[in-house]
Symmetry: C2
Subunit: 212 residues, 2 copies
């Protein structure tokens, strides 16, 4: 049996996918840069719910693009999100992409203090020099710890992407983040994930000019 699927390049497939997403979004109006983020998340998930749930602080995407062009350090809460971020695009701007979840000192700290590794990983990231963009796709406790550190003025995140997924404490942790006066992109509700966190970073990297 001969396979009859259309032979097209990955770039053509992506362009056609974005056309289909635009068609299905129909007459809905978004700010242009926010639309790019929303469409890339839908491209990653095939889930149009994100057109409603993604929430942007004023000018968040512009600020993200500016930070990336300046070589901001990107910290994720999972190795999956770290793996999903386009490294050549990040490296073009000198952005490091770090994840401390597997670090032995983080595991030891979490065990000693009775907190999650995600919370301990955020504290380690808070000690990094220079501005940090946090991309949280998994652990609500990471968002809560970022909120606490910022409230106590121990950290001013350059930006937070708050898109953990789940059924316990996730909705609440995102709503808490929304009260924080820092640039942020949040997927309200239960949905999100490491893939969504990576897609949002990639959308901003591409808008910044990180991809040919």
């Amino acid at each position: 049996m001969k396979v009859k699927l259309q032979q097209v390049s990955p770039a053509q497939i992506e362009a056609r996918s974005m056309e289909i997403i635009s068609q299905e979004l129909g007459e809905r109006h978004f700010a242009p840069l926010e639309e790019q983020v929303i469409k890339r998340v839908i491209h990653t998930t095939a889930d149009f719910d994100y057109a409603d749930s993604l929430t942007f602080s004023p000018g968040a995407v512009q600020q993200g693009i500016r930070l990336l062009r300046q070589g901001v350090t990107i910290v994720t809460d999972t190795r999956m999100a770290q793996a999903g971020i386009n490294k050549p695009a990040a490296e073009r701007f000198g952005c490091r992409v770090l994840c401390f979840m597997g670090d032995e000192d983080v595991a030891a700290e979490a065990k000693a203090r009775g907190c999650t590794r995600a919370a301990a990983a955020m504290e380690k990231a808070a000690r990094l020099p220079g501005p940090v963009l946090f991309a949280v796709g998994n652990a609500p406790t990471a968002l809560v710890r970022l909120y606490e550190l910022a409230s106590e003025e121990l950290l001013i995140p350059a930006m937070v992407i708050g898109v953990p997924v789940g059924f316990v404490n996730v909705v609440e942790a995102k709503e808490l983040l929304c009260t924080l006066p820092v640039p942020q992109i949040v997927a309200r509700g239960r949905k999100g994930g490491s893939n969504v966190a990576a897609a949002i970073v990639n959308a901003m990297l591409y808008e910044a000019g990180g991809r040919d």
Copy 2:
């Protein structure tokens, strides 16, 4: 402002999440092992559509568990899916978790032949000794190439997890896979992803006894 979120361990959060998922699935009936896979995918995505779209060949989960216990090699089509698979659980059974997408020989082969890197990566995996479980969460061309290799009897996949996400060729590639007489778990329709592929492998690893 004091944070009021419930303090619970990751294990407690997961158990409570699974309870909520069971409640919301209500009276729906699934085969017990398939239910574990479905619930873990919903846990990963917060998307109940997977209760309808996940399709299992007869005995697929049992076969997956048996293969994992025998140390099957797991090959993914993205580094994200590779990163998302629980390594201590896989290593408990001696399962390697490989991804060839970033390999220079795969890139060179794809360029020379005008195929996708995903297709070339599947060909490289087809030359591995011993049984291989393919976990495809991104590239429909990977599924098509697996189908072609199996049709030409150049490869007998031990099992295929076919859950790429997308808008072009994705639905068709999954339907093609469904015609192949190999153990398989497929997310029909557009939805899927690297996170879904990893979640399915992890669900089977945990059912196999790979997690304490």
